[in-house]
């Protein structure tokens, strides 16, 4: 199997279905590109991450640069020397990952719902979506567990925005 080095990294592999998350000691090694996807190696074992199995890649922190790769039952955290290289890898891989992300209209509705605007005609005006679709989105939000039986946004609904760029005021 051929592989080409991409970056010096530290990594840790967690089993994501264990009740208590097990966490190995961070291993120093390399991230490699291979014929079948990605490899992580500590110099002895080569851990293969098939791209077709990837469910998600998220940025955990900017400083130090750290990303999390999710494959069924496993979380792999990778920390690299250069943030831009890990971010580039993430953006390179994202198109190959098919996720079941809720659409933007549903997110927009939940954003208003979260600040107390729940009236369908008003939501229709604000979102420029017909009322019938608004009702469908509300039903879908309830079915997906984003709005509870009391009509309140749930923690799962709130989490919809946890990945949003939320920092107001940059350096500069």
């Amino acid at each position: 199997m051929k592989a080409r080095k991409y970056e010096n990294v530290e990594f840790v592999i967690n089993h994501s279905t264990d009740e208590m998350k097990l966490s190995l000691v961070w291993k120093k090694g390399g991230l490699y590109l291979s014929l079948s996807g990605l490899f992580l190696t500590d110099g002895n074992t080569w851990y293969e991450l098939p791209v077709k199995e990837l469910e998600n890649i998220t940025v955990v922190s900017d400083t130090p640069p750290k990303i999390r790769l999710k494959i069924p039952q496993l979380d792999i955290m990778i920390s690299g020397e250069r943030a831009e290289k890990l971010l580039a890898l993430r953006h390179f891989l994202l198109p190959y990952i098919s996720g079941d992300e809720p659409d933007s209209e549903l997110k927009a509705l939940l954003r208003f719902w979260g600040i107390g605007i729940k009236d369908a005609p008003i939501l229709s005006k604000l979102l420029k979506i017909d009322e019938e679709t608004i009702e469908k989105l509300i039903t879908e939000s309830k079915d997906r567990g984003y709005i509870d039986g009391n009509g309140e946004i749930t923690p799962a609904g709130n989490r919809m925005f946890s990945d949003e760029v939320n920092m107001v005021g940059g350096e500069g």
């Binding site: 198109p95 107390g116 008003i122």
Partner: protein, 296 residues
């Protein structure tokens, strides 16, 4: 030529990653150097038409900035109060994925737009690609959904808030200009903005949204620092972008020279396969240890 699944060859992959690394560096430098004063963002938010918004100094700056970063020429195609749509013809990012079909690919563009809106304009939210040439569309399109409270806090200034207070206190629309010492034209303009933002209804009465804003939004004023807009010194921003991308260029050159490693099949653990077969991580580890012992 060797293929890495649907990625393409090693050379294509390294080249695409090099370009993406360069873009990441450029976006980071651009965002760090492009903080926009609230008064300029407010002008953009208060525009009534897409043409008007597209012609603001702010949007002209955004267009120029993203060209210099390398993300292509943006066109504003929609300006609802909480939603802005942007189109990019001949999107350079889409060209980095020549082997992807029927999928949207330009995540870096969507996230860069949102980073700029959140960090430089103070408008958090979400941006996603809604059409992509790699998905078979004519051009790439992006939809920005902004958090409503942040938009209200930035779009409406102290005079707008005075108008809301005056109307809540029972003042008539006709008396607003006199009461707040502003011209009739200004009062009419501000009232029309408040109507557009659904703070006032067609009869200039406070709406449910206006009431919600009054309760929650007005109590959380944002701090507005006054400083020159970033387009006053575009040369400095360009310099920062160029300096930041030098590393990425060096990376692309050295990455091309990295040798191909021959990995022994016996040393490989396919994490996805092992995780499926194992009921716990402990079992997975145990398997690895047993395999290692057998080998030894």
């Amino acid at each position: 030529m060797e293929k890495i699944n649907e990625f393409g060859s090693f050379a294509e992959t390294i080249s695409a990653l090099g370009t993406l690394t360069k873009l990441e560096s450029a976006v980071d430098a651009a965002v760090k150097n492009s903080k926009v004063p609230a008064r300029e963002t407010r002008k953009f938010l208060k525009c009534m038409t897409v043409e008007e918004a597209g012609n603001t100094a702010l949007f002209q700056f955004i267009r120029e900035l993203f060209v210099r970063v390398g993300l292509g020429q943006m066109k504003l195609t929609r300006n609802d109060i909480f939603r802005y749509d942007i189109a990019i013809n001949e999107n350079p990012v889409a060209k980095l994925y020549p082997n992807v079909t029927n999928k949207k690919t330009c995540y870096i563009t969507a996230e860069s737009i949102m980073e700029f809106f959140a960090k430089d304009l103070g408008l958090p939210g979400n941006c996603e690609e809604t059409a992509c040439v790699n998905a078979g569309d004519d051009r790439c399109e992006f939809s920005i959904s902004l958090q409503p409270l942040a938009v209200y806090q930035l779009a409406l200034d102290a005079s707008d808030k005075e108008i809301i207070m005056a109307i809540m206190d029972g003042s008539t629309v006709q008396s607003i200009a006199t009461k707040l010492d502003m011209s009739d034209e200004e009062a009419q303009y501000r009232l029309s903005v408040l109507k557009r933002y659904h703070i006032l209804d067609e009869n200039f009465a406070i709406t449910e949204i206006g009431d919600t804003y009054h309760k929650y939004g007005e109590g959380m004023p944002i701090q507005e620092d006054d400083f020159p807009p970033p387009w006053k010194d575009m040369a400095e921003i360009s310099g920062a972008i160029s300096a930041s991308t030098s590393f990425a260029e060096a990376f692309t050159e050295t990455a091309k020279e990295e040798p191909l490693w021959d990995v022994n099949e016996d040393d490989i653990v396919n994490l996805a396969d092992e995780a499926k077969k194992s009921t716990s991580f402990a079992e997975l580890l145990s398997k690895q240890i047993k395999n290692k012992e057998k080998d030894d």
